[in-house]
Symmetry: C2
Subunit: 377 residues, 2 copies
């Protein structure tokens, strides 16, 4: 038996992440991924297997040489909770240690809900998840709307919950749950969700488009989410925005490209009245439409995407939120419009794609945060 050294928490966590994500499958590949020597890696893996976080699951024969001893995460070693909320509802997911989504809980919030109530409901959701999950809760990720100081663990401001100002979320939840709590803006959490559960798997540079009640983006640059010096990077909803084809100047991007606004514009005369109950459904019904309204909406999206692309040069734009219901065709139209509006963009691999994740992308992203932050005790 090998000697049993004291190993570094952080490195253990990183090792588990590599195995879970499939970027490393054996001791040697793990050594390369972590940038540490094979001998040390062996010690770490031994430790993780002894603690029942990893196990060996067969061999993988390459074209030649000794086969690699495949490493996998032990699914029942514990679980991660991911929670996202807005003024209307809380969504929570339970993810097992292997990174598989196992359980989902959704709770509607009453109108004019306050911060304290939200916190309580979140605890309630996590408790409900716990009933269905195996092993101990390891950490909790939280996707918070509005302005967030992820580092400090504080929700700074959210317009649609009256007293949501400077809420020390990590402190509040951490003391109740006794596990690490990791905060992030919900759109930036979605960016992580795409890495773990969606299209962003091998991508290092992409942008999340988040048209909901407003419009914001989250940018991933070289594998890192851009936070900004004041935590407001990507909050472009208040850009002045002259609608393409429209006459009204002095508007803001929010009013042009939010999900409700987009529906109104696409629905034409039918969009004059109140918003439909089921906005996603209503948008899905418009997925095949065309005409000047369609073209105008596409042109507006195209312009935003073009501008963004030329600033941060990412390439892939992943559309989230209700507008994914407009489908691939919409995304194609936008890509096309962007290229014809800004010919430079041809040939740089610009693409707009609808997210394959559903409504719970935010919660999944929060769970991803939890996974990334975890390290064994």
């Amino acid at each position: 038996m090998r000697k049993n050294p004291i190993v570094q928490r952080e490195t253990l966590g990183a090792a588990v992440l590599q195995i879970r994500s499939g970027r490393a499958t054996s001791r040697t590949t793990l050594a390369k991924a972590l940038g540490i020597s094979p001998s040390t890696t062996g010690l770490y893996v031994d430790h993780l297997i002894a603690e029942r976080y990893l196990n060996e699951s067969g061999l993988n024969q390459g074209p030649m040489g000794r086969p690699r001893r495949l490493l996998t995460t032990q699914a029942d070693a514990g679980w991660f909770a991911g929670v996202e909320f807005n003024a209307q509802r809380i969504q929570a997911v339970g993810v097992d240690f292997s990174g598989t989504l196992k359980s989902t809980v959704e709770t509607l919030l009453p109108a004019d809900v306050l911060a304290e109530q939200v916190m309580k409901s979140i605890l309630c959701c996590v408790a409900k998840l716990a009933e269905t999950m195996q092993g101990p809760l390891l950490s909790v990720g939280l996707g918070v709307p509005g302005l967030v100081d992820a580092h400090a663990g504080v929700g700074l401001y959210y317009a649609f919950i009256a007293d949501w100002k400077q809420v020390p979320v990590v402190e509040i939840l951490g003391s109740k749950l006794n596990v690490p709590v990791i905060l992030q803006n919900n759109l930036r959490a979605i960016a992580l969700a795409e890495r773990w559960f969606g299209i962003g798997h091998g991508l290092n540079d992409y942008v999340i488009l988040g048209p909901r009640s407003g419009f914001g983006v989250a940018m991933v640059q070289n594998g890192r989410v851009i936070e900004g010096a004041h935590h407001v990077a990507g909050e472009i909803g208040r850009w002045p925005w002259p609608l393409t084809g429209g006459a009204d100047g002095g508007q803001e991007l929010h009013h042009a490209l939010s999900a409700p606004a987009t529906w109104r514009r696409l629905a034409g005369e039918g969009g004059k009245g109140a918003l439909p109950e089921d906005l996603r459904g209503a948008l899905a019904a418009l997925a095949d439409s065309s005409g000047p309204e369609w073209d105008a909406v596409c042109a507006d999206y195209a312009r935003v995407i073009g501008l963004l692309h030329m600033i941060i040069d990412t390439g892939v734009f992943i559309l989230h939120g209700p507008l994914t219901m407009l489908g691939e065709r919409f995304c194609h139209s936008v890509t096309e419009a962007a290229c014809s509006l800004m010919p430079v963009l041809r040939g740089v691999g610009l693409q707009v794609v609808p997210s394959t994740l559903g409504d719970n992308a935010g919660a999944l992203g929060a769970a991803s945060q939890a996974m990334e932050a975890w390290a064994p005790a």
Copy 2:
């Protein structure tokens, strides 16, 4: 005497950087800055002093306790070359080991110059610098116009030198000079120059505005220059740009905000003819002007800055190039215009400032690259 271990090149380089930049002044502060233990730091410092890269220069008494033994870089331990060029000229600077600018060389290039000639002239400039500098040449930084693959060390494309396509600059110069050669886009090099020689000293997030013959920006996020997935981050010159107050649609940002275009707009009727020989001087003469042209130019700049700020949330915009001649007043006007155009920007500490670096900012930035990349043999 302490034992004499084999130390890590990289860490030695990082240590020198910390001392040179003044972020660390003694063994203990250096240990904190590098994130290694004081005991190990002592060994590294011993090594660097023995190799004559550092020396001790007196004591610094704090309010209490043992005084720190101040560490400084040995100015004559060697020197770094920084070179920048465009289609008209080469600028080269020599910086001693303490990071002080010691020597400058400028060479004009003939019209229709080709890549090979540029390479030769660069070597010539470096040779000229060498005559005035002490110690061995340690590394060379190069600020290259156009598209650059910094990692690969290849100049990808530059419109104003006919055969500047896929030029393996690092390979060519490295083999002649036998020292490390580090490449970067010239605007991004300027971003580094601001860190070492200008306003960006303690800043982690800022944007360089580079209006010259075109318009581009370089963005620093959390201390890192944003490169983009295809090396074109910040190349926003080809944004469609409806001039504020003007009627002509279908233009591009280049045509609205480049240095010549700005002069033309500000000069009004006087700007119809040919460009003045001395554009910087001509712009300086307009620094006190006002009227609708002035306001329109400020509004255009304001809009660009506002958009950028809301995307990447940096805060400080440093103006470079000929337009710095318009002075503080111009920058103030732009800041004001941005805040009145986008009221959200009030109170987020948005500021536009003219660079204090002169015409050779690019070369200084290239030298900064060289310094940052160097590590003892």
